[in-house]
């Protein structure tokens, strides 16, 4: 099976510029983790830099680790054929994160789903609303402390 990981030189080129970025050790794919304040700058660079050129946002999801959340972005570059998984750690109390829907319009529906099921607010999202559950639903089902 192909790997589609990024070339190591490329990834270390970007990591030096972001204080909070760590490259995670993974044999399957390139994975990096950043903090909230660096996320939007990193995403902009990933999209706009011609060597990186991550033009396709595949997926946004979130995982509840009981004392924090990790929001996971999966990006692919049609031009270079490499992919990357960007993880962003956020607080458990009133979780919120800046939206990436200005860069990637695909994020509009994906972030609505994460908000609906996990309760993470995406700041400056054009239309954040409950997309899968009824509007009057109480609670966020995919959280670990959800009781039906």
């Amino acid at each position: 099976m192909g790997n589609n990981s990024m070339a190591p030189g490329l990834i270390s080129k970007i990591s030096s510029r972001y204080f909070s970025m760590t490259i995670l050790n993974d044999q399957h794919t390139t994975k990096v983790q950043v903090e909230e304040n660096d996320l939007i700058y990193l995403m902009e660079e990933l999209k706009n830099d011609p060597d990186l050129h991550f033009d396709l946002l595949l997926d946004i999801t979130a995982v509840d680790y009981l004392d924090h959340y990790i929001v996971v972005y999966n990006l692919f570059s049609l031009k270079h054929g490499h992919k990357i998984m960007v993880k962003c750690r956020i607080e458990h109390e009133n979780p919120s994160l800046i939206t990436v829907s200005d860069l990637y319009p695909a994020a509009e529906v994906l972030e609505c789903e994460v908000y609906d099921l996990m309760g993470i607010e995406f700041v400056s999202h054009p239309n954040l609303h409950r997309i899968l559950l009824p509007d009057d639903f109480e609670g966020f089902p995919l959280r670990k402390d959800y009781k039906s």
């Binding site: 559950l133 009824p134 639903f137 089902p141 959800y146 039906s148």
Partner: protein
């Protein structure tokens, strides 16, 4: 008083055994049973088997269900193929209420009967009979087209002989 009352009772007896009225009712029941027009309401995976039943191999139309009518005003059978969740429930009820009497409901598939594989889910209702009176239950996940046809024939039997089964909601009403 005695003779008038007796005459009234006699008339009532005659009316009850009035052969002509009973025959018309039976004729109408026969007509309804042999021309049930379902509503197009495909919800989930069972809907694909419902579509296949309507196709060329299993051919629902030879049992009288010539057309699936999209408008509830023109349909008299509602087949519920798939899981109903809380968001969809008021809409299913509304569509059911828009159908004209006499109307029948078939719960197709395990999800419509009892919630199926999603019974533990926070979203899915445990069966359609919690808010609709169901006439025939067709188990399966999904039931084969032959099972759906068998269900339709059971419904036909039920319409022609209404004393065979009483339609109940799960709360007993």
């Amino acid at each position: 008083m005695g003779i008038d009352a007796q005459q009234q009772v006699d008339t009532q007896e005659l009316l009850k055994n009035n052969i002509i009225l009973t025959s018309i009712e039976k004729l109408l029941d026969w007509g309804r049973a042999h021309s049930l027009w379902p509503l197009t309401f495909g919800i989930a995976c069972c809907a694909i088997e419902m579509m296949a039943t309507n196709g060329a191999r299993y051919d629902f139309s030879r049992f009288g269900s010539e057309l699936f009518r999209p408008s509830p005003r023109q349909a008299d059978l509602m087949i519920i193929p798939g899981s109903v969740n809380r968001k969809l429930q008021p809409l299913v009820e509304r569509v059911y209420q828009q159908m004209a009497d006499p109307k029948y409901v078939i719960a197709m598939g395990n999800c419509a009967i009892s919630g199926g594989p999603y019974r533990d889910s926070y979203a899915v209702l445990p069966g359609v009979d919690s808010f609709l009176p169901v006439d025939v239950y067709i188990p399966g996940c999904p039931p084969r087209p032959e099972a759906l046809i068998f269900g339709l024939l059971k419904l036909r039997e039920k319409i022609i002989h209404p004393e065979k089964a009483v339609r109940l909601r799960s709360d007993g009403k």
